[in-house]
Amino acid sequence: MEQLIKQTLNKLAQPDISFADVRITRTDNEWLYFMNGFMRSYGSSMDSTAIGIRVLINGCWGFAGSRDLSAAAIDRLVRTAVRNARQGGSFIRNRVEFPALPATRAEYHHQPEIDPFKMPKEEKTACLRGLAEAIKPQGKIVHSMVMGQFMRQEKYYANSEGTYSHTSYYNTLPVMEVVASDGGQIQSRTWPGHMSAGRGGFELFKQQKFAENTDRIMKEAIDLLNAPTIEDDRADIIIGNGHLALQLHESVGHATEADRIFGMEISYAGKTFIKPEMLGSFQYGSPLVNIYSDSTDPKGLGYHPVDDEGVPGQKVDIIKDGILVNQQTSRQIAKLLGLRPSSNMKASFADDFPLVRMTNFCLAPGSGSLEELIASTEHGYLLDFTKTWSIDDNRNNFQFTTEIGYRIDGGKITGIVKEPTYFGITKDFWNSCDAVCGPEEWSYHSTFHCGKGEPGQVMQLSHGVAPARFKNINVSVKI
């Protein structure tokens, strides 16, 4: 592959191409899905190759991608990428400026504890079947599912500056869900929640304690049927890791993708309330809020030694002591903002155009345990496990509903509430943060499904979070 990618790059050594890069990915996927205790689907997509060629000609990008790596296909892609850049240049006013970077070379090959692609299929099936049977519909449980998705991707990257990287990794998405009904309403519980993916292989089912939590989610789903809703208008809320990851993702992660500042995502994902002049002075959150983008930590899905346009992996503070200090950028956008590129350009597959993407986007831990945080809360709610999410196209006004809320009175959990829903404005919300739990509560929560861009891409990424408390939040939404 190294030879193929370099041969392709050689074909792009043309006088009017100021920058070119080529990526090749080879991806394996396998998935198992059990519904109501029975196997509904077992499938695979193996050895799926893709190639993408990106060129910058006279300040305009052109791109071509395919799943066909034959010589004829690559010749056609080279011609098409060049044509797209040249013709696109007829509808352009500001030529892209793309500062040069030194060449770098990287190799990284991750190995999971239990390689799901080497594990016998019947062994994987037996494990998931055991879980599926444990949560099979009975009584008020009317629907259940268990799913495992395993992915292995090998990536080659080379650019016209001499950078070359070859990486491979394994990611796994395990999840289970039960739905309870009393004949009228339904309530659901998942485990381990909305962002259940992780870097690793089949060992994630054990690490995430699936077998230990089947009874818990069935009981909670049934109990939710008769649980009250929140009656308060405003309340202090503690958000558990099973939901805080998404709150961080939507209201800080996407908001600080700098392509949104320049309108590159207006047509689909939206823009951001952030303006360039806010950098260095905008009080995004309380002084306890420290948020960073870290593509150097191999434990998260966002790890890479080099991003998809040749920028070495980096750990960058985005919010420091509550102040917005940086953005997630590409080389093109970093130049516009006068910043150093943050190594956030990523594409899902080689035949996708790279975009500014979150990698490992994290809330730094504070201090203390969740137990201590609950004990110090006179009245409020611990909300966990995402159910519904929505945020406006400026990343300013959000509303979330979690699967379950635990009522806190006098520092103790005293009951549960169903469909706890809260809303707020991003800046006000993060400024109301008065506690973040310590490193012992901090963990990664990852997704396979962050959608962005057109044509649409889904990115795999991680969020490191520890439970945090937010004061006087609006919980008055009545449906």
Binding site: F38, M39, S44, A81, S90, F91, I186, G270, S390, G456
Partner: protein, 441 residues
């Protein structure tokens, strides 16, 4: 012999197996623009073979991208090795057996018919018009071409082609950031009238010259633009699926042939309208026919494929709500706006998600042009708003529908490149629940 035929020939040597195999060839030319200039031009293509293999009630499926014989042989070997060891799905009965073929039609490849230089010329013209009001344009101009063939062990062998077009232009004011939207979608570019498209966009731009205000949360009389009504109906159709019914998550459970909406609400899934992006077959090969879903407010049918027809006993139709039409009413838009003392005009919706699908409750936001209506006319621009509503409640509060429909395209996301169209009129809805303001345009 092509790769699909090869896969079939190998599978036919195993009479103990049932199978459903597909081949899709797909390509796109995709221009994304921002600030009235090219952001990037993308060309992509892909060929995929998909296979579902059954042995009794046991099954295994695989997908092969850029298929070649070596990959097919490996995937088949893998499937045949494991299939006996898998647990059964007791609800599987048989594969699709509907042999009805769709009317043949000629599908022009719009990637070739609308080359990149034509796209940039059209966009340059629209950009020039918008710039007179200090607006830049942002958006996408997409042409896809895809062919699809499905063969199964019951003898079914069906092919279809489509070539959707999607043009989305958002005009954004360079200072206020007020945004308006105009779209075109379909398979026949002959329906695209550049002048009318530009004039419609300019009309919306002119509304944006007024003051920008916030409105308080509360219940409002609203005019939903066709795009909004279309999107609510798309979300509602989720609960019309037999799969969702089977999961006890459908609001329509127990409501078949019952009056669920006012008599002026009729919804049909209609693949035959030439103005829309059409569908020939459902995903398992059943012919896609016109299917009334709601007739004069009465719920008439669940969307039901072969698997769920066997499982639930509901009639099979193969429809997937890909060609939704909401029947028009008898009012003009001016009449509907004219009848509102204080209310809102909502152009587009953003980031909706169900809170509880069984109740059709959801939350979402307005986008791309929200306007205040005072004393029967549009007077001000309004910051985007959050609503928390139930779709069934919205439809039960529809008091007027426009006398004609617009064709609204929706592009796929999350790695889907599908483009669908929905036909819908403007709707006048009472007591629409606005729950907060975003304080931003």
């Amino acid at each position: 012999m092509d790769q699909l035929e090869y896969l079939k020939s190998v599978l036919d040597q195993h009479p103990e197996l049932q199978y459903s195999i597909t081949q899709s060839n797909w390509s796109t030319d995709f221009l994304r623009f921002y600030h009235s200039e090219t952001n990037y031009n993308i060309s992509k293509d892909n060929t995929t073979i998909g296979a579902e293999i059954y042995k009794g009630k046991k099954s295994f499926n695989f997908a092969i991208e850029n298929p070649e014989r070596g990959k097919i042989d490996a995937a088949l070997r893998d499937a045949l090795e494991v299939i006996d060891k898998l647990p059964e799905d007791p609800d599987f009965v048989d594969l699709e057996s509907d042999m009805t073929l769709a009317e043949p039609r000629v599908v022009k490849n719009n990637i070739e018919a609308i080359p990149l230089d034509l796209k940039t010329k059209i966009l340059s013209n629209i950009s020039a018009a918008a710039s007179m009001y200090d607006f830049d344009i942002f958006g996408t101009f997409i042409c896809n071409y895809q062919s699809f063939r499905l063969i199964n062990s019951n003898g079914l062998d069906k092919s279809s082609q489509s070539s959707p077009i999607y043009l989305e232009v958002k005009a954004v004011h360079n200072k206020s950031q007020v945004t308006v939207l105009e779209t075109f979608g379909g398979e026949d570019f002959g329906y695209f009238n550049e002048r009318a498209f530009t004039e419609s966009l300019m009309q919306k731009i002119k509304y944006c010259s007024s003051e920008i205000v916030d409105v308080e949360p509360g219940y409002y009389d609203v005019i939903l633009a066709p795009r909004c009504l279309a999107e609510f109906i798309q979300y509602l159709s989720h609960g019309m699926s037999a799969r969702v019914l089977d999961q006890h998550s459908s609001w329509f459970e127990g409501k078949l042939n019952k009056q669920v909406f006012p008599a002026h609400i009729s919804i049909v899934d209609d693949p035959a309208d030439p103005r829309m992006i059409r569908a020939d077959y459902g995903s398992d090969g059943h012919i896609y026919r016109r299917l009334p879903l709601v007739e004069k407010g009465v719920f008439r049918a669940f969307l039901c494929n072969n698997y769920y027809a066997h499982k639930t006993g509901l009639p099979k139709n193969g429809n997937t709500a890909s060609c939704l039409k909401i029947e028009p009413g008898d009012k003009t838009l001016e009449e509907m706006i004219g009848g509102i003392k204080r209310g809102l005009y909502i152009s587009s919706l953003h980031y909706m998600n169900f809170i509880n699908p069984r109740e059709t409750s959801l939350t979402g936001l307005t986008r791309d042009g929200t306007f205040l209506i005072e004393n029967g006319r549009i007077t001000k621009v309004v910051n985007n708003l959050r609503f928390t509503e139930r779709i069934e409640r919205i439809l039960n509060n529809v008091v007027g529908l426009e006398d004609h429909c617009a064709t609204i395209p929706f592009s796929g996301n999350y790695e889907s490149f599908d483009i669908e169209t929905v036909k819908a009129p403007h709707a006048h809805v009472r007591d629409f629940n606005v729950t907060s303001s975003t304080k931003t345009i």
